[in-house]
């Protein structure tokens, strides 16, 4: 077997943090290699270097015997690398055939669009993966799984030798996932190398000829399928227990229940029971698609609940809209700042006062001086660094933007604060600051629910961590029993009868 990918001495450093340190990596034709690791373990950096999307600081990559020009994605494509990412860069309103042939031309004549030739060529491409997808349908009308197949087929259209599948099943149900896995196996059988980045360990075991595990930018394990037990993979990802240090404890919980959830159900999650007390920080862990965000949104009234009861500070709590939640003293810092948090063109001041407007207004009347004083105090309290609070929030760094979003709830002293990936897109140095903010909320008696994909974050902050899998609550792990190993094992537990 010849090596299709051969990388040596790869190094990449951001600031003072070494994110990639791989001495030797070689992938053979006909094999499916699963790449595993926690968030930030360096999987995506490695793949980005291999596909030319990121330039390595040192080392070189050979693709099919030819050296890749460092950081040149077009060259990587030319050498036969294709990537299927998690998001679907498809044109929703165009047909499957048109999407597959996007940027290429089928049929005779240079000007006219030849529908029949396009569909024929597209059909051939889809035939490669044996997918049965209606060619003339607009992509937006297809179920997500079929869109994923179209995306894979599109990548295959260039006949790549190396195919990177970046969490291709994260948005899919079990049946569709199986299909994608079968396609990946078939492609390997055709003599390609497939790199499969995955989260679900059961899937990884099913698909891979080799399991590579990364931690802190290094390849720490290269397992054969026989040796790749769930236990072994988790051990490799989590590292030695001794390495895990939990620096500093959160302030002790004040006690007294704030939020009680019984049998909560919403699309894709539940039934879930939760209790959070005053000053308590409850972590929510789980793999991608386990329902972390959905749970948080259900608590905020942002998605419709279909069953169960909740009570907040002893009173029944059934928010039908986030406005109900806010009025009951609940706040949310959403996951995606650009799409769910910020008014990007509006001044810092507007972004801070957004949720507090009815409170700082006198009846409906909003006194500009009152607002300015209010937001300026909040800004100082949560330490948003900016020249003036009149500058657009889009001009601030990620960490400062996130502080402003926290500031939205700061003055309200909410009973319950919901955090969804509170440090996403925040650089390492600013994370500590965000952690202190979270603790300061808890210290003032706010109950905090923090959903995160970063286990360190939960281990650092949370008093207890609830672990979700397949939309169900698997277990709740108290701080004294924390270990990455325990959290990961729980997250990979698939409860009986759950929709996986």
């Amino acid at each position: 077997m010849t090596a299709l990918v051969d990388a040596t001495g790869l190094r990449k450093t951001y600031g003072t943090v070494e994110v990639l340190h791989v001495d030797r990596l070689s992938l053979a034709a006909g094999e499916v290699v699963a790449l595993l690791g926690e968030n930030g373990a360096g999987k995506s950096t490695l793949v980005r270097v291999l596909t030319g999307a990121t330039a390595a600081d040192a080392g070189h990559v050979e693709l099919g015997g030819r050296q890749l020009r460092n950081g040149d994605p077009a060259h990587a494509q030319e050498l036969g690398v294709a990537t299927v990412s998690q998001e679907f860069p498809l044109v929703g309103e165009m047909s499957v055939a048109e999407n597959l042939m996007l940027g290429r031309r089928a049929g005779v004549g240079g000007v006219l669009f030849d529908r029949r030739a396009t569909e024929r060529a597209a059909g051939e491409v889809l035939g490669l993966i044996g997918a049965d997808v209606p060619l003339d349908q607009p992509v937006s009308r297809l179920p997500v799984a079929q869109q994923q197949l179209v995306e894979i087929a599109k990548a295959l259209g260039r006949d790549p030798k190396v195919l990177v599948l970046d969490e291709p099943t994260s948005a899919l149900g079990p049946v569709e996932s199986r299909r994608v896995i079968r396609v990946a196996r078939d492609l390997a059988a055709q003599g390609r190398a497939v790199i499969f980045i995955g989260h679900r360990l059961d899937e990884v075991r099913e698909i891979a000829d080799r399991v590579l595990v990364m931690r802190n930018g290094r390849l720490v394990a290269d397992l054969t399928p026989e040796r790749a037990t769930t236990e072994a993979m988790i051990r490799a990802m989590a590292g030695d227990e001794a390495e895990v240090l939990v620096e500093g404890d959160p302030p002790p919980a004040v006690g007294g229940p704030v939020l009680t959830v019984r049998g909560l159900e919403a699309a894709g999650i539940g039934p879930i029971d939760l209790d959070v007390g005053r000053g308590e920080i409850l972590g929510v862990a789980g793999l991608m698609g386990s329902g972390r965000s959905r749970l948080v949104h259900a608590l905020m009234g942002a998605v419709r609940t279909t069953g169960g009861t909740m009570s907040l500070a002893g009173r029944p709590y059934a928010p039908k809209h986030p406005a109900d939640a806010v009025r009951s003293g609940v706040g949310l810092v959403p996951e995606d700042r650009a799409r769910q948090s910020l008014l990007p063109l509006a001044p810092v001041r507007w972004n801070i006062s957004l949720a507090a407007l009815p409170r700082i207004a006198h009846r409906s009347w909003l006194d500009p001086a009152v607002e300015r004083t209010f937001t300026d105090e909040v800004r100082k309290a949560v330490e948003v660094r900016c020249a003036t609070q009149e500058q657009p929030i889009g001009t601030l760094s990620g960490g400062n933007q996130q502080r402003a979003v926290f500031g939205r709830w700061f003055a309200a002293e909410p009973r319950l604060l919901l955090l969804d990936e509170p440090t996403r897109g925040v650089d390492v140095a600013a994370k500590a600051g965000i952690y202190h903010l979270v603790e300061s909320f808890a210290a003032r008696g706010t109950a905090v629910v923090i959903a995160s994909s970063e286990l360190e974050e939960l281990m650092r902050l949370a008093h207890r961590t609830a672990v979700l899998a397949g939309g169900r609550l698997v277990t709740t792990i108290p701080r004294s029993d924390y270990s990455k190993h325990a959290l990961m094992t729980a997250a990979n537990h698939v409860p009986e009868g759950a929709a996986q």
């Binding site: 009025r327 063109l345 509006a346 700082i360």
Partner: protein, 331 residues
Amino acid sequence: MTSSLIETPPPKTAFGGAFLRGKEIGVVIAVAVAFTVFALANGNFAGVPNLQTMGVDLAQYGLLALGVSFVIITGGIDLSVGSVVALSGVWSAWLNVHAGLPDVIAIALALVTGAVIGVVHGLSVTVLGVPPFVTTLVTLVAARGAALALTEGFPIDGVGTVFTGIAQYRIAGVPVPTLLFVGACVLAWLFLERTYQGRQLYAVGGNAEAARLAGIRTRRRVILAYVVSSTCAAAVGVLVTARLTVGQPSIATGWELNAIAAAVIGGVGLAGGVGRVVGVAFGAILLVLINNGLVILHVSPYYQQIVLGAVLAVAVVTDRLRSRGFERNRR
């Protein structure tokens, strides 16, 4: 990152600084320049009779622009206002003349009808999720049709004295419609910049999902914007009928485009979340000055359209350049 907070006091605003802050300054200067040029070119331009005519024109365009701005600020668009003007114009006349209702009642009912159209628009956009463009396009066609059906194509003659009075009365030489427009501007300014619901309107346009998750009832704000827009249009319909003293179904064709143009010239961003009453008012003034000035200078109506198009192009391109500059700053 530095360890200390950067404490720069906000720049002191000079006289009128807050009033003319930012992008509105451009259109204010354009108004001053246009007025000076036309006044120098033709002695009648700045004369009282012409100013009064322009004042009434301004009330019509300005009210429409003001209403449409509410919708654009929420990130929507309202194409129906011209047709709603026509419908309201003949409907108020019909109620007054054919149904025999007192003038004031007829006018009030016409305004209520406008508000109802706005509610329907708002529900269609928020509850049904029909894009604003399509929703209001339906009304653009249907309301015009209703205006024609109501009159069977003929003007409705003989409206009461309240109608004619609105058009004829002047207070200190200023026509009543102009005063109404000024009043509407003050109200709109108070709402948008001095109430929290106004701020929430901007938030909905700036990022609807962020607004919703921050606990803002976005649907109510959007519905309100459409109600304001359609009610303004209905009011303009009454003003036009008053001016013509007949209910005329063919009036105000294409005025929605003038209204949107005035808003955009005044700095209202079509993407939503941006725009101020000062800008909209001056955008409308500029539009009226150019229209009227070119007529007085005997420029062919065809060329007037070209000039208006050019002004709009300048406004849009300036807006684009400004936001691109902003995006560059973020890097």
